[in-house]
Subunit: 214 residues, 2 copies
Amino acid sequence: MSSVTHDVPRRRMAAVERRAGILAAALDAFAAGGYHETSLGDVAERAGVSKALIYEHFSSKRELHGALLETYVHELLATVAEAIATAEQGEQRLRAGLEGFLGFVERRRDAWRMLVRNAAEGDLAASFERLRHEAAAAIAALMVADAPPESPAAGVERELAIEMLAEQLVGAVVSLANWWDEHRDVPREQVLAIAMDFAWVGLERLGEGEAWNA
Amino acid sequence: MSSVTHDVPRRRMAAVERRAGILAAALDAFAAGGYHETSLGDVAERAGVSKALIYEHFSSKRELHGALLETYVHELLATVAEAIATAEQGEQRLRAGLEGFLGFVERRRDAWRMLVRNAAEGDLAASFERLRHEAAAAIAALMVADAPPESPAAGVERELAIEMLAEQLVGAVVSLANWWDEHRDVPREQVLAIAMDFAWVGLERLGEGEAWNA
DNA sequence: AAGATAACTGACTCGCGAGTCAGTTAGGAG
DNA sequence: CTCCTAACTGACTCGCGAGTCAGTTATCTT
């Protein structure tokens, strides 16, 4: 009875590694359940660590969550920005941006889920909303630059119309990304094709079929 | 000092009215802060009532929240369904549906906010996701019925493509509705015009410009 | 006016989760 | 081998919020 198997006397890790481990565990947890449904106890357990240790690396639950949020929002933004920078033409640029975005969703599945899971509540919403809005604004800016001065829909202010169009575009793509997240068997190119099919046509209309490709 | 002004001895109300009052207060609170950020104490205060009384009408916080959710999800669904039923043609039907939807968002601003605020977390997400999916499925069904059998985007399964298209459509409209919620000065017809401009063109592409109007 | 009933409340319990602290121990520097 | 630091933990506190209960009072009925 005294044959204690004395299971693995847990290795100590350097602060940086441990921090990374905690972040990974937290990402898992938050992606699975959202901010409020996740306790630091959960995170600690997933990380195989005591709750107290978490406080050696992060001063509060919010800070931990915020660190993740910032990391991935930044990565997402950078990815898309970089992708966009490689293409000059209107349609190609849109395609490149979408490709970058979808690549992120594919590569950082958990991160994407975490972003979406925290899109609605409290001041957490602010981060996501800002991201969304930044995307819409960027798109709107491109449209303003490229589109002809005619109003796309009768009786609507040009700037307003562009803003709304951009908002819809973002919404459509985000929605599609979420759908894709639950249909991972569908290859990325197909999703991209559909997204382009939907978005580009809508955008093209803005320029009445010309002006955008030059 | 003994001049007690004995402020308004709060009127008693019949159970039904009180219940309604509590529901209204809860709607306010949940719309403003989301489920988790709202305590029953908040709701009670807003309703001008003790917390205990709430439990005379609802057995738990979830039930209270659920009652609101069900009410408005149902109303929204019914509104759109009714609107759709009045139009037979493809484009007119889409316009009618959108009009009904935007009408709901305009009329039940708080309810809409509450729905959106609870779209992401835990099993609360299920309700909203189901609603979303129901909408997408309905749209997809219409498309399947009306669209020609050609594949809309090269190399993508027809059914899959339609599903994705519908998902994007829903996302775009929801996104636009949220934007509108923060730009209430923009009249409904303009929002509708933009939504149609975006959505219909994308859809028309599916049928290559014909087949939908007959 | 008396009694009954249903609206209503203050003051409770109780569990959960964020955050803390007084230590214990691994493992590297000398 | 011996310190010394930095990783690490168990066992706490403490406030908050859901849910409860014993009682109080308004209003309707007779």
